[in-house]
Symmetry: D2
Subunit: 354 residues, 4 copies
């Protein structure tokens, strides 16, 4: 690609992930946002759905079947719909970055087990590279089809990669994931349990909630196992925050592993990573990773605590589910793919307090 700006289009741009893609890409100096699709809001202004973008763009939504061709296509469409229309999407751009769940798993049987339906395009699964630069940066430099992980999976995979790579854990790793309400998306109101309008995402029901919505076997578990090879069991709880994911991973230490070994593993694994910070301090208010200060940022903070006497450790990770757990991570993949500095367009550090 040349010094002309790279043209990108965003499919499913009326949702929260789509809105974050717009926010980040409109501020990206090397990119031109050429189109943003939404069938439901076709013809309406983009900033009517994303009021934070007022004054920054005059784009209107395009119906998805009116897409032209672009350098890069970001897919933020709902699960299942993405795989159903993937042939069409692949024709619209040389590089496709998918943020849905449809191309995250390699094995169609695992997909069917966790998602309850057979995959519509099983042959394409292997053609997607997994979009997490911290684990697969080299593959991403040449990838034309990229599938970014789910928000909880991203947090857990980054948190557990040092555990896997350095053999820190013995036996089952229990992952307790906590997630804010924006992960449910803008259409949550219409897709409650049982297919009827659901009240789960009403403010009155979600405010102050600690809702264990998946005590065991959350879907993202499959991605974490695939990425780390660890024996992972994950449950998930919806919490008060709008944004943010935190994972708390507990496990028995492998023989001979002490606190120093754990610290060393994390330091070595993540030296030089632009968006991973190790947060494990003896004092202060923010001793461990916490999503509160990460809203809007692309950081994934990771930390750990080791109880040598009990032979156990806890690893903690946090990120913004819509940024490093979605749109920001996708743009980071784009930067890697195009050989740009990885931080481009992703410099916002988050707010404190917030």
């Amino acid at each position: 690609m040349t010094c002309a700006p790279t043209t990108v289009a965003i499919v499913g741009a009326s949702g929260y992930i789509g809105g974050e893609l717009l926010r980040i890409l409109l501020g990206h100096p090397l990119v031109e946002v050429a189109a943003a699709t939404s069938d439901r809001f076709a013809g309406r202004r983009v900033d009517g759905r994303h009021p934070n973008l007022r004054g920054l763009t005059d784009l209107t939504f395009l119906p998805v079947d009116r897409l032209r061709t672009y350098d890069v296509l970001f897919l933020a469409a709902p699960h299942r719909e993405t795989m159903r229309r993937i042939p069409y999407f692949l024709r619209r751009a040389g590089c496709v970055i998918d943020l849905s769940a449809d191309f995250r798993l390699r094995d169609p049987a695992v997909y069917a087990k966790y998602y309850g339906v057979p995959h519509a395009e099983p042959a394409l699964l292997a053609t997607f590279r997994r979009g997490l630069p911290e684990l697969w940066r080299d593959e991403l430099r040449t990838a034309d089809r990229i599938s970014v992980p789910g928000c909880m999976a991203a947090a857990a995979i980054i948190s557990l990669a040092p555990v896997a790579d350095y053999g820190l854990a013995a036996g089952v790793v229990t992952v307790d994931a906590r997630t804010g309400s924006s992960g449910s998306g803008t259409t949550a109101v219409m897709t409650g349990p049982g297919g009827r309008a659901g009240a789960a995402h009403l403010h009155a029901e979600r405010s102050g909630a600690l809702r264990v919505f998946a005590p065991t076997g959350h879907r993202h578990e499959a991605e974490i196992i695939q990425a780390t090879g660890l024996s992972v069991r994950m449950g998930a709880t919806g919490v008060e925050a709008v944004r943010g994911v935190q994972v708390v991973c507990t496990f028995a230490l492998a023989a001979g592993v002490d606190e120093q070994a754990v610290r060393g593993a994390f330091r070595k694994r993540y030296a030089g990573e632009p968006f991973v910070r190790i947060v494990a301090q003896r004092r202060g208010l923010y001793r461990y990773p916490e999503p509160k200060i990460l809203s809007g940022s692309n950081f994934c903070d990771v930390g750990f605590a080791v109880d040598e006497q009990a032979g156990r450790a806890t690893v903690i990770g946090a990120l913004d589910n819509l940024v490093k757990g979605g749109a920001g991570n996708a743009v980071q993949c784009l930067n890697v793919r195009l050989g740009w500095p990885e931080r481009t367009g992703l410099e916002f550090p988050g707010l404190h307090p917030n």
Copy 2:
């Protein structure tokens, strides 16, 4: 009525106001909850919708057209639907207490102006007594048709009654009302602006909001004017809380009115009222009325601050929109009507902190 328990039925019992009626009436020692209706959830357990009632009742929802006759009928059905079916409801009980907006206004023309449709039963409007014991206790002792005020109206009417009765204000009284999210009800998801599924009540959109949804002319304004005779202008803002209404009323002092006169007016007006507390302190954290500590209680706290130099005053009121602004106030009316101690079933004082 005799020493047999008074039988009550609740129409529209699956909503938030209906749930509060159930909570209060199930704990009321002189009442038996004989029926709770919901067409949508007919046959299902009441505690499936109101999980706080688990272990307290085995009631299931009845379809509304299966009502028998009861001593008292509480109507917590949606606006418009209530007036459409009112003849049926009036046949089901000797005493009907309505919590919808349909019978709050006396004048059909005012109703049409504020609600945008003509009233379905204009001849019945005058047959309802207004259900606020602080203003109309004597009328309520013999009333068989009672319409309780809206939550913001109740707060404003109680706050401004001393202002009206003692002539404290000159000119326009500006009422700034702030309201929690539960006022929107359980069906909010399906009734967004434009008749389509609305996102306004999604947690992600409402959390942390300060949403001026009615900058001027909120509907409850009409009730306040009707009750007080003051020249009131009301705007309304949706705030973060789930429960609670606060009204801040500002006005120019009438000639000769000073702080002592204001204090005297409030003290005299509300001496002996079981559910009105005057809160206007020089120090402390809760110097003025605040809904935070009123959740679940039937209190309406009122306070004031006078700036003699500027010739202006601020009157503040707070209550729980579902209790004193709805179900609790309705039960207080029942207690008045049946000659029971007014606090019966309404003793819960609220929580601090909360």
Copy 3:
């Protein structure tokens, strides 16, 4: 004791636990609150600290050294201070119910390990009965010295008692505890890390937080181990809510244990318990225990999910940290001790929504 009301005094009545004791005991029909102590606020009105009690009491705070004698003394004083003054307290009442951490552990060595200081009165430890009717009701009927468990410990002990009694777990039980901000108390501002004024409890820092303040080895772990005999490892996270504790306990199933066995164990263990509800549903919004709907109530909800294929289970418990995790549980112990109906004064069911 006779038909004269039982007189009680509350030590440390200006704090949040003290306030809840006041709220509950002022509404208890068989009790007279004779005194409430606070050295710092001596002489001031009780409702100045607990504004929800306005209109319900004219009590003022007494200095602690001015206590007379009472039928029952509730101790809600800070840790360490309680054990230092315990001889004085024991002389003031025939029955003492302590809500501090000082007399929860039987073994002085365990106390020293978890609290970092030697116990001041090790000989007295064995004289206290543990105040959780669900586990030790019979002992409590004759106990004159009662120590109620910590809030997270209470939730975990009730959640895990069926696991222990019926041998459901193999190996380590991991407890993830989440707790609201009121557990830190009213003096939190002055006792930040390092002994200086701490910012941890500032609204701006705590709002929206998911703060892992104890990744491993939280102090309440010792109580849970003592009570259940299980191999428990507990971490704790501070969450957004003001009230509420939730524990999520995960473990490998013992050989031969399936879902039916788990369900049976919980049902048998808690049949007839007035304040334990089993919440484990296939659908609905509140399928598992959640503190949101428990504010102000004395319920401890418990639930479970079993993954037979993976051979693992998750047990979930929730309560209000100031009620069943403190003041309410203490009053339940009083009711047991005095042979009163256990629900007396504890009927408030909690609010939905909230």
Copy 4:
């Protein structure tokens, strides 16, 4: 100044406003942050207090008396302390931008009335230019002493400038200001009412609050009157949010003013302003200005609603109290002063949802 980076120092850098100055200035391409002072945290890392800055800076805090000289000095020190030390500060830089309240008012008598103490340096008051580019851009181009307005004052002044300039209002303008908790600062815990440790800012007390802390005559009133010449009366309420200010201003329309005139006044007044957006829509969720979507951004959104029949109007403004209400606005003033593009370093648009 030359193409060498402009050196800046921040006094009072451990507080929330100081942290925002650091965040913005560390990302400002034309500036070098040369020093950040804090006596209390001298020698410690800046990112220990501002965890969002981890990985972005290795600065440590400097004691304030160790300042050298810089191109620009930002003062984020407490009120009163600033005026006491102002001679020292003025010697440390050619350009001083003060964010305290000490140099906002021109008239020492007005200062004494609103702040309750005489001003320490009355002769210097007139030497400061007021730091709001929307009103005083030309003066700022050459100003060497700049005092930026308070957060609520900034919102109200920007909201009311068109009202004042075009004569839209008759009589008193009532301003209802709502403010998040971060305005109280990091040291709030130690400065409660009465000079003792205060609980007002504890999460348990502030969460969900609607606290009318100044029913009338809030200090920022004086700034608004000074800037607009209108007859303003302002009360203030603390709300749940951490960040954000919203002002709701109501007034009677001047003779002959209708909705079109109001709209025209706002459009003309703010055409081309980089950080003022007019938000007054007929439909949608964010029809009026709301701080929720402004966190971290430098926008001040303003809107209005006119009730021609009643002859009254409501003007609404919103901003982030730490950005456009503090640090961001100060940097915008710097950009104006140094002839840089006004948006430099201030491009972050805010998040939705948030």
